[in-house]
């Protein structure tokens, strides 16, 4: 029972930790982007200020019940996904669901947000959602190909099993034997994180920040938190599958490293058109992933 | 004592007495066909129990005329097969004669009723006779009356149709007669049982036999609507009055079919390879009929083509005769087709009554204007499509099973392709009947409630369709008997000629 008790402590503590770290990730992202652009950039804790400010704002416009529930659902959906991914050898709830469960839990959040945006009734928001979903159709295929190759390679869809198999140093990480799959997944991750060149859904110059167009104040604050957790979870999938998990510290280091790569690409890339982005995912990353998958299937 | 002879004698008497009734009252001739067929149907039904009393489960009685025994005298056979076809004919004729109550035939009306009775009489005779020349005679009675009835509307159109029918029909009869002549020349007998026995014993040169087969098929094929010989069908069905059409499709065609089956199965015997011929003819007729119906706009022509297709299916089933299932299915289908198609034609007559337009566009929406008639029509249609709860389902099911059972998977598949085409045009027809709003003209045409007697006859047929559809065993024993009679030659021969 002791183990269970510990688990519950972590279950309560981990989301708070991840939110703070995720906000720091976002702040770091802004700082790093600024440095790349030869700017000074905001302080690294800027996003925490932003969230505090957003929650302190008064009278954001509400368009209906679903509009309010949307961000809540997005936040909660990401929170529950967080619990199903092992973070730094802490299994949390991940014994109760495998990668596929996580993949589908990850969908609750965008779905909730999409419904909220829908009730907002702003066509730009809906265009953003339509773009996001199209993008999702693009990267999900690549993501799934990579995940299937990992599952085929290990014979298990459980995160803990996969992490266990990678224990024993850098050499045992799956990024080496499954390099092509990892590469494909990293590309998919770029889309998942919504970093350039795949930031069409929120493209501020085209659709006025897309889904978020009607959200202000605490709605936006919830979405910021959702985004912060999302980054950790999404990079965490990569860390757990290919970089061998690790202790809490190293886990976050690896996770940030994955995010850092995405950031570098983000900082120097222009934006695809949405059709191009979709077509891109279904050509190069999918092809790379498929080659990786075939190699796994043959070599296995 | 009721005797099968009465089935021929009474109509004969009634037919020629029509003018006399006409002298008494102008209205009386109208009733004559109905009473004739009511009496004959009653006689037939009262005779039915005698069929199922022997050891084999059924019985075949031979009735001699003028007391001379079969090989030398003329006889009538009353077995399950004959009785079955006679029943078909009587049922359809009865329903059609009820329709006549509401129908004003072209003058002179007496002639019409006379010919009407004569057609049925001839068909009944064909079915019942045990003598092949008699069969020819009855065939002639039927066909000549049909020619006249086809042309009775006295328009150029009907005259043309009648003439085409006459052309093909008379040539067909001639060929049939030629075949009889060949047989008689070789075997010196006209009694079917005797012929069957001789052929069975190998008294006939196979080449002559095959020539006879060909002549018979081509000769009888005109009435049985086989492929290249059925050119008259759509024209005749289009030009003839509706009750006549129902008789043509339900009675004449079935009599021709019976003749074909009787001649090929009983006299010639299926071991000679005629079945392949039937299969080929059957499938070609089926496909050609269904394909022609596919784009028809005129409902009478559509039903005519569908009729051809159905006859093809029956012939195909007879071709699968080395499996009794197919044979049973074929006879069953003959019954179903006669009833359903008769029903459909009669219902069509009422649907277009007082209106006289027969294309789909004009009759669109009739389901709202004349709901009950259209409902009856639909029952016939669904039965023709072979859908469950209606009798057609069982026969089609049996035919396909039988065909596959006899090894003819390809034919079965082709037949089913034909059926799919049938589904398409009938579904489209249903769409027209129910889907649209009726035109003013249609709404103002004669009400169906004024056609009570006709509806009674049709309801009677529809009841049969549903009864057999729900409980097929109502009639299956009959069909099994009929199949046995047609297929087991020795039984037939021994029943007529006495134990050999």
């Amino acid at each position: 029972m002791n183990a269970v008790g510990l688990n519950i402590t972590w279950i309560i503590f981990m989301p708070i930790l991840v939110i703070i770290i995720g906000l720091f990730y976002l702040g770091a992202a802004r700082k790093i982007t600024a440095r790349i652009q030869n700017r000074y950039g905001p302080p690294i804790y800027q996003n925490i200020i932003d969230v505090i400010k957003l929650f302190s704002k008064k009278n954001p416009t509400n368009h209906g019940v679903m509009f309010s529930l949307g961000p809540v659902m997005a936040f909660s959906g990401m929170l529950i996904s967080l619990l199903f991914i092992p973070i730094g050898n802490k299994a949390l709830l991940s014994f109760n669901g495998d990668i596929i469960v996580l993949l589908y839990l990850l969908v609750i959040a965008p779905l909730g947000m999409a419904l909220g945006v829908g009730e907002g009734g702003n066509p730009m928001g809906t265009i953003g959602i339509a773009r996001a979903l199209t993008l999702m159709l693009g990267y999900e295929v690549v993501l799934v190909i990579s995940i299937i190759s990992v599952i085929l390679y290990t014979g298990s869809a459980s995160f803990m099993e996969i992490i266990k198999m990678q224990s024993g140093g850098v050499g045992h990480w799956f990024i080496w034997p499954l390099f092509l799959s990892a590469l494909a997944m990293d590309m998919a991750l770029q889309g998942m994180l919504g970093e350039k060149p795949f930031d069409q859904p929120v493209a501020p110059h085209e659709v006025a920040s897309g889904p978020m167009v009607e959200f202000g104040g605490k709605y936006l604050g919830l979405l910021q938190l959702y985004h912060a957790i999302g980054i950790v979870v999404e990079t965490g999938i990569f860390v757990n599958l290919f970089l061998g998990g690790g202790t809490l510290f190293w886990w976050f280091v690896k996770s940030f490293a994955v995010f850092f790569v995405a950031l570098l690409i983000n900082a120097v890339m222009p934006r695809f058109r949405i059709g191009q982005a979709f077509a891109f995912f279904w050509t190069y990353p999918a092809a790379i992933g498929l080659i990786g998958l075939i190699l796994v299937a043959i070599l296995k | 004592m009721v005797s099968p002879i009465l089935l021929i004698a009474i109509p004969l008497f009634m037919a020629f007495s029509v003018p006399i009734w006409g002298l008494i009252s102008k209205k009386l001739p109208k009733l004559v066909p109905f009473f004739t067929f009511a009496i004959t149907t009653a006689i037939l039904v009262s005779l039915l129990p005698t069929l199922f009393s022997g050891q084999q489960g059924f019985n075949l009685t031979s009735v001699t005329i003028a007391g001379i025994k079969p090989p030398y005298g003329i006889n009538l056979t009353f077995g399950p097969a004959s009785a079955f076809f006679a029943l078909i004919i009587q049922l359809v004729a009865l329903a059609a004669s009820l329709y006549l109550f509401e129908y004003e035939p072209p003058e002179p009306a007496e002639k019409f009723y006379m010919l009407f009775i004569l057609v049925v009489l001839g068909a009944t005779g064909m079915v019942l006779t045990g003598d092949i020349f008699n069969m020819f005679v009855f065939l002639e009675i039927t066909s000549i009356s049909s020619y006249a009835l086809t042309a009775i509307n006295k328009t150029g159109h009907s005259a043309e149709a009648g003439f085409k029918y006459l052309l093909l029909g008379s040539l067909g009869s001639t060929l049939f007669l030629l075949g009889i002549a060949l047989l008689y020349g070789s075997l010196r007998t006209l009694n079917m049982a005797q012929l069957s026995l001789y052929i069975h014993q190998g008294h006939l040169d196979p080449k002559v036999l095959m020539a006879v087969v060909v002549l018979f098929i081509v000769g009888l094929g005109v009435e049985a609507e086989l492929l290249p010989l059925n050119g008259w069908v759509p024209d005749a069905y289009e030009a003839a009055p509706i009750p006549v059409v129902s008789i043509l499709s339900g009675v004449v065609a079935k009599a021709g079919l019976y003749a074909l089956a009787r001649v090929l199965y009983t006299i010639i015997g299926i071991e000679t390879g005629v079945l392949n011929l039937l299969l080929i003819f059957g499938i070609l007729t089926l496909l050609s009929g269904e394909l022609s119906a596919l784009r028809q706009k005129d409902i009478r022509r559509l039903l005519a083509y569908s009729s051809i297709g159905q006859m093809g299916l029956i012939i195909l089933a007879l071709g699968g005769g080395n499996s009794p299932m197919a044979m049973v299915g074929g006879l069953f289908q003959a019954f179903n087709h006669a009833i359903a198609k008769g029903l459909m034609f009669l219902a069509l007559g009422i649907m277009a009554a007082g209106f006289n337009k027969w294309d789909m566009e004009s009759l669109a929406g009739v389901g709202k204007a004349k709901p009950y008639t259209t409902f009856l029509f639909t029952i016939g249609l669904l039965s023709t499509l072979g859908l469950p709860l209606f009798s057609g389902f069982w026969s089609k099911f049996l035919i396909i099973f039988g065909l596959v059972h006899s090894g003819q998977v390809v034919y079965a598949a082709l037949a089913l392709i034909g059926s799919v085409i049938e589904v398409v045009y009938f579904a489209r027809l249903l769409g027209y009947l129910y889907g649209k709003d009726p035109s003013e003209e249609l709404l103002n045409s004669t009400l169906e409630s004024k056609k009570g007697f006709a509806l009674l006859g049709m309801t009677f047929l529809a009841a049969f369709v549903i009864l057999i559809g729900v409980y097929p065993d109502f009639i299956t024993n009959f069909i099994l008997g009929g199949t046995a009679e047609l297929v087991y030659k020795s039984f037939y021969i021994s029943s007529i000629l006495g134990g050999i």
């Binding site: 509400n62 936040f75 469960v101 | 080449k207 784009r295």
Partner: protein
């Protein structure tokens, strides 16, 4: 014996009564239908697992049996039928014929699941097919003609393929009962057996909307009477699935032994079906994404979901079959729910054209909530039955090593989000149109049926083990491999675990946390009006189209146009043209109306026949 007759009589008598009495009072037809379904369910409950014999054709004993699978399928059928009969209370405008045919249709469907021999199976099959056609017909089908004809033609073609398959088996084994066929299937040569199975699977595949036999399905589903569509798509398609189950596990099992027919460790049939299922699921969902009408969208979605089931059947191990059967139930539930909601929307607004709807959440909040529930299940969100079944199917696909089809299935699932969002957004979200300002919420019969459908959706989502347990019992009774590693709330496969309860509780807790965070944030201001939106400072009034619902995924369509161009429809249209061409030639040739020509034909036939006799006969 008598119980079965009572059961049949209950439905057919109800049909007869509804048909005869329905025209006198609309209440009567609804009441009779409702009563007949309930009575039927009660009768079925008393029947238990048993076998009944009926003397049907030539005194043959046809068999109706009830086993666990039958119970599963029949309860599903009766359940959805009950929902439909409940919803029908609000539909007096449908003709008595519709009610009668509906009862016959339910009867046919139930009898399919009960029948244990060829004759009764085919009887029930055809009964189910044509009554469905009749129902489309009875609902005034001026615009529906082509869809109805297409449906009828395809279902006839499918039924005939089934018939050929059965008749081949009958010809080879001389048995009409399934058990006898299975016993003597060893006597059938491989060639015939393969032919028979191919015909059967193709025939059943038509009903299960398997590509390339799916072309009828979207049209027929979308054009069928609205309250009935849920049953049509949810249950009638399952008869095809059931048929495939029968064909596959009764007969194809025998082919397992032939090494030539084995690919990837399973039979070649399985392999083909996996691919067909995956392509069906993927292709249909891509098409569903681009539909403009709600019913069409859901119809294509049905085709896609049926692809999942076929895919899972093809895998044919314990996971695959569990997945297939559970997805059969899942699809029946959520598709019935979604179609019923759409029927309610159509009843209230008169259209299912998505661009003309919008904003109905303000007027029909209950419908919206359940549309979300249905959508969660459709998209396979954990906590709903849709995830339970999809998850098992994915695990089955990966575990069986079908990597590429599984990828396609995943993509199809992602596409499901796309079309689901489009559906729910276009109808319920977005701005409310002027003409729908006074739309009312659906009547009680509707929302009661929503609730009734939502309960099992969540129950089996939170207790996936219960569903797997039911299906395992079925599979074990058929001596098929069954999934045994489950508890009430969790299922474990060789690859991983899924605990529905933990996910549910966890999400519940997360939702509470989310709400707390939300309420920390303080007051909000209600939007002043519907035009209170940010549109670059512009005030956009009703004269402009603010509802982003036309060409929703245009950019996607543009990119996928090469893929969407591949159309089975066009191929069939070409075949249809060809047949019409042949038909015309045939008619002009043989029925030219020229008496001389007829005589020529007669002479030619006579000559050919006589000459050929002289040549062939020695």
């Amino acid at each position: 014996m008598m119980k079965l007759l009572y059961f049949i009589g209950c439905f057919s008598g109800g049909a007869l009564l509804a048909f005869l009495l329905g025209s006198f009072s609309p209440l009567l037809k609804k009441f009779i239908t409702f009563l007949a379904v309930i009575l039927g369910a009660v009768l079925f409950a008393t029947m238990g697992t048993s076998t009944y014999q009926l003397s049907l054709l030539f005194g043959n004993q046809v068999i109706f049996g009830i086993d666990t699978l039958t119970q599963f399928m029949v309860w599903m059928t009766l359940g959805i039928a009950f929902i439909v009969s409940l919803v029908l209370w609000s539909h007096s405008e449908l003709s008595p014929t519709f009610f009668a045919l509906f009862l016959l249709n339910v009867l046919g469907t139930v009898l399919i699941f009960m029948s244990r021999d060829i004759v009764s199976f085919f009887f029930s099959w055809e009964l189910m097919s044509w009554t469905a056609f009749g129902m489309i017909l009875s609902d005034g089908w001026e615009k529906k003609r082509s869809a109805a004809v297409k449906y009828f033609m395809w279902s006839a073609a499918g039924a005939y393929m089934v018939l050929i398959g059965f008749s081949i088996l009958f010809a080879a084994t001389s048995a009409i009962r399934f058990e006898n066929i299975v016993m003597s299937v060893g006597r059938v040569s491989h060639g015939w057996l393969i032919t028979a199975i191919a015909f059967l699977v193709a025939g059943f595949g038509v009903k299960a909307a398997m590509m390339p036999f799916h072309v009828w399905a979207p049209d027929a589903y979308s054009e069928s009477p609205h309250p009935f569509t849920g049953f049509f798509s949810g249950i009638l398609s399952k008869t095809g699935v059931y048929g495939i189950f029968i064909a596959f596990f009764y007969l194809a099992a025998r082919l397992e032994a032939v090494p030539m027919l084995r690919v990837h460790g399973t039979s070649i049939f399985g392999y083909i079906m996996v691919w067909i299922g995956a392509i069906t699921a993927f292709g249909a969902s891509l098409i569903a994404v681009h539909q403009e009408y709600g019913k069409k969208l859901l119809a294509w979605s049905s085709v896609s979901q049926l692809g999942y089931i076929i895919f899972a059947f093809g895998i044919a191990d314990s996971l695959g079959m569990t997945g297939a059967l559970s997805h059969a139930l899942a699809h029946a539930l959520f598709k019935a729910l979604l179609f019923t909601i759409l029927a309610g929307v159509i009843m209230r607004t008169g259209t299912d054209h998505m661009a003309s709807l919008g904003g109905l959440i303000k007027r029909m909040p209950l419908s919206f909530i359940f549309a979300v529930v249905g959508g969660l299940a459709l998209a396979g969100i954990p906590m709903t039955i849709g995830f339970t079944s999809k998850w098992i199917i994915y695990e089955a696909g990966i575990n069986g090593g079908y990597i590429f089809p599984t990828t396609l299935i995943f993509a199809a699932s992602t596409a499901a989000f796309l079309y689901y969002y489009r559906f729910v957004y276009s109808i319920f979200l977005g701005p409310l149109h002027e003409e729908h300002q006074n739309v009312k919420e659906v009547p009680a019969t509707y929302w009661i049926s929503y609730i009734l459908l939502a309960i099992p959706i969540f129950y089996f989502g939170l207790y996936p083990g219960k569903l797997v347990g039911i299906i395992s019992t079925i599979l074990q009774s058929y001596n098929l491999p069954a999934l045994t590693t489950y508890t009430a709330t969790s299922v474990t496969t060789p690859l991983g675990t899924f605990n529905g309860m933990v996910v549910g509780l966890g999400f519940g807790a997360a939702l509470i946390v989310g709400l707390i965070v939300y309420f920390i944030g303080g007051r909000v201001r209600k939007a002043a009006s519907q035009t209170d939106k940010y549109l670059a400072g512009e005030v956009v009034t009703n004269e402009f189209e603010l509802h982003y619902s036309v060409d929703f995924y245009r950019f996607l369509e543009r990119k996928l146009s090469w893929l969407l161009k591949i159309s089975a429809q066009k191929f069939y249209e070409f075949i249809g043209e060809l047949i019409r061409f042949v038909a015309d030639i045939n008619r002009k040739m043989f029925f030219c109306g020229n008496g001389q020509a007829y005589l020529y034909y007669m002479t030619i036939v006579l000559t050919i026949l006589i000459l050929s006799i002289w040549r062939i006969k020695p």
